[in-house]
Subunit: 210 residues, 3 copies
């Protein structure tokens, strides 16, 4: 079983659904939902590939992730449309909780995928670059999603969002020397997701200036 | 007559004017109008060149499109300033209709220009990449325009916006094998524009989830 | 004394503080303040490096500017938190004036740094490209800052913002042939900052269309 492929697929599906849910909240039509889902799912990887000089970015050459995101969005769309008739769902705490969980899963999966791509591209010696690329791959799709949807990016607004990604990235860079890439990826991705879920549940806050 | 040059020039002028009209709506001053016009006109092509690894992007080496966009913006600015004294024009349906038409023309022209650039860069074998690059070139400038102007990007909000671009891109990729690039470009660009104009007129809508 | 390093460091500190001040205005927590400060400080340079094809961008390989921006943000955060207890500071004209000054300093420093990087990358023959890259390096970080913070980018809204950067860029390209790079950088960066400060003080306005 290829852990890298599995992680990228988990991240793609989770982020595609998170983008689609934000689009549904904004009352966009089906096309807007698809575009926002796709952008969230493949945006972080595209930014990463542009930064390290992979031309053209992987998603353009092998569209499997674009297709996976499309299928995820369509399934979500049908589920929401036929099982929920009213807009009440948008106000329910459950909607917000699911959206947050999907975002946390995507953040964890894409953080480790980003580091692994950096290693594969020959940057395994640059620890700082690897961590930075992991974080950008993790948060990039969500930043594009939020900026296009007209809301403050999660990375600026949510409890310990960037911190969770950095913690997972550092964990991966250390662990991979001892356990190999596969187990290190899984553990680090879960770490990110758990930190985000706990941060939301216990409302971990950092101080404000004023 | 070089059809590629003609298409790129049509797209540049149309998108420069659309960016300037949005800036006028937002009551920006002349500099803001020029910056938004330029960004809209050359933004999609810059994103495309970065994605396929053309360094530096064509617009930096040969500034003819930057100059064309500048002239277009200045002509539009003078026309609006001296022929319309009041802000009533901004509320008139005509203003919105012209803005929409210019956006549709730019979308069509840049979609085919994007595909042609991908072919020229040696990606003629990758059908998916060609279509994707065409769509990104078409919608990219408008996304930058709308995000900078603080409004939801047209690609999320307008009737069958991305669909029109995809339809034109697929049409071009198929047609070019039979008719050569020139006629295929013209037909496909017109197809995009016509779909967008019809979509607006008949208010073609896709379903919402809720 | 390396003038290039000095200029980049001045720009980094000034832009990091401007990003942090905007984040404080938006009532973000410490993490949001750090993320917005970093984005503002290194965003323009990252966009520039991506455009001219420096893979990976310099900031990823040598994190000195990332660290400098981090330290600047922390110092600013502590200063605001402990010396000002109330939110009144955000309404004071002084806060706005300091923010504007830091933004003007960063704009000047990064404009000349961007041109110098273009020359170093072998584009010294393309005057238009050099000026454009200088302006993008200067305004890029601020555009990312304002778009993430949900406000109209300074380059669209502020008095002669892009003009000041263009004036400094043209000044540098001309001067460097006579005085060498060091003095030309200092003079041009100061020119940009002075133009911006004067523009704000005397409320230089360009005409609007309506």
């Amino acid at each position: 079983m290829d852990v890298f492929f599995l992680m990228e697929m988990i991240g793609t599906v989770a982020f595609a659904c998170s983008g689609a849910m934000v689009a549904i909240e904004k009352r966009l039509d089906l096309l807007g939902i698809i575009v926002l889902g796709e952008t969230t799912a493949v945006g972080g990887g595209m930014i990463r590939d542009i930064i390290i000089g992979i031309h053209p970015p992987a998603l353009f050459v092998d569209p499997i992730y674009v297709i996976a995101a499309f299928v995820s969005v369509m399934v979500l769309f049908v589920a929401v449309k036929y099982f929920y008739q009213s807009a009440d769902i948008l106000e329910s705490p459950m909607y917000e909780a699911v959206l947050n969980l999907l975002d946390a899963i995507g953040l964890g999966a894409f953080t480790v995928v980003g580091i692994d791509t950096a290693v594969g591209a020959g940057f395994g010696e640059y620890k700082f670059l690897m961590i930075f690329l992991g974080v950008i791959t993790g948060v990039g799709g969500g930043i594009l999603r939020d900026m296009m949807a007209g809301q403050t990016p999660a990375v600026l607004r949510k409890h310990v969002y960037a911190c969770a990604s950095i913690a997972g990235a550092v964990c991966y860079v250390i662990l991979m020397n001892y356990t190999g890439e596969g187990p290190a990826m899984v553990v680090s991705a879960i770490l990110v997701t758990v930190i985000r879920v706990l941060a939301r549940h216990y409302k971990w806050n950092l101080p404000r200036a004023i």
